[in-house]
Symmetry: C2
Subunit: 193 residues, 2 copies
DNA sequence: ACGGCTGTCGAACGGTCGGTCAACGGGCGC
DNA sequence: GCGCCCGTTGACCGACCGTTCGACAGCCGT
């Protein structure tokens, strides 16, 4: 039954999200999924493979949506806003996915090395910046890679504060975060002359 | 001998920086310090206490330097630049400290809850933003907390890319990163009209 | 109705590691 | 020179947990 595999993966997302990967026991995942923990090894070869599968499945969905933004013909500033919106709104629909990705994987060098996909959102943002510069919409004197890293870092920091419960996270708060990021892109922090 | 305690702490920074906290064995730290692993328990009550001590000692130094920036009478934009400089340049002098703080601690909720200090740099930045707004230097329509989170996130993302080896990190690269952050604060990404 | 295959179970294994502790030794006071 | 303290050692313990594996149950083809 392929359905059990899903059960296990879904359970794993929840467990990893709430306890973190290395504090989660294989037994916890099995219990959450309602199966014996031996069964997990019928569908996956190891605990690590479960983590990688969970990660890959969810991350590639986000990646595709981010990449799709590159193909629109909106101004670069608007494209950046869309990228922010995709990531920030995911917190609303799938907080557990954000928890596990943000908190557990994005920083861990062991995983980072095995999974190249992690840098890809930054690459996507970088291309948006480069195209914006080529069209004269964005300042040409910014290093695109650096600007992309900074922008992604801003999004990531906001998500992190939601994950950690440090910041209000209702619908309006999400909209405000999106808006603030857009404003920073538009004119920075300093009062325009 | 109090000196042995230092030896152990210094060894711990190196080991945590290169292997991560939960993959580091107590024996690794002892070996790096050149002592028997039992001795570690003469100076610390647990492996966790070692981590907390390492973290606290190094983090409080950075915190004090960041807080000191609040007391200067420079323009807010300049103060933000200084905060960025403090954090980014630490990568130059003490990469291992940055590695362990950035990669190991800043994201882990277990530690996050035990150690309130982690949010303090963001608080400090927030106060700088608020004061800048009060003096009319910074845009009053930005939520200071949100702006501070975004700014800190940008710094953090740059440090992370250095830690992961994704980005060039010579003296000039550090200067460029600092400069780019300052420019983003000044006028954002968009070409000024 | 039989044999085997697939999915499922959970007891048991094996290795790892944080933490303990009895013993040692060398320096210091007497 | 004697004993005592205390920093130091490393063998050992016990728990934990990922992984294995033999058993079993239901179903399907024959």
């Amino acid at each position: 039954m392929e359905e059990k595999r899903r059960q296990i993966l879904d359970a794993a997302v929840r467990v990893f999200a709430h306890k973190g990967f290395h504090t989660s026991r294989v037994g916890d995942i099995a219990e959450e999924a309602g199966v014996a923990h031996g069964l997990l090894y019928h569908y996956f070869s190891s605990k690590d493979e479960v983590l990688e599968t969970v990660f890959h499945e969810n991350w590639s969905v986000l990646l595709d949506r981010i990449r799709a933004v590159e193909d629109t013909d909106e101004p670069a500033a608007e494209q950046l806003r869309h990228v922010a919106a995709i990531l920030l709104r995911t917190w609303r629909h799938e907080p557990d996915v954000v928890r596990v990705v943000v908190r557990e994987i994005a920083r861990s060098p062991e995983v980072q090395q095995r999974i190249g996909e992690l840098v890809e959102p930054v690459d996507s943002i970088r291309r948006i910046v480069e195209n914006g510069q080529a069209r004269g919409e964005l300042r040409a004197d910014l290093d695109p890679q650096l600007a992309a890293t900074i922008f992604y870092g801003g999004i990531d920091a906001i998500l992190t504060s939601w994950v950690l419960g440090t910041r209000e996270d209702g619908d309006d708060a999400i909209a405000r975060a999106e808006q603030t990021l857009a404003e920073v892109v538009r004119t920075g922090f300093v009062t325009p002359a």
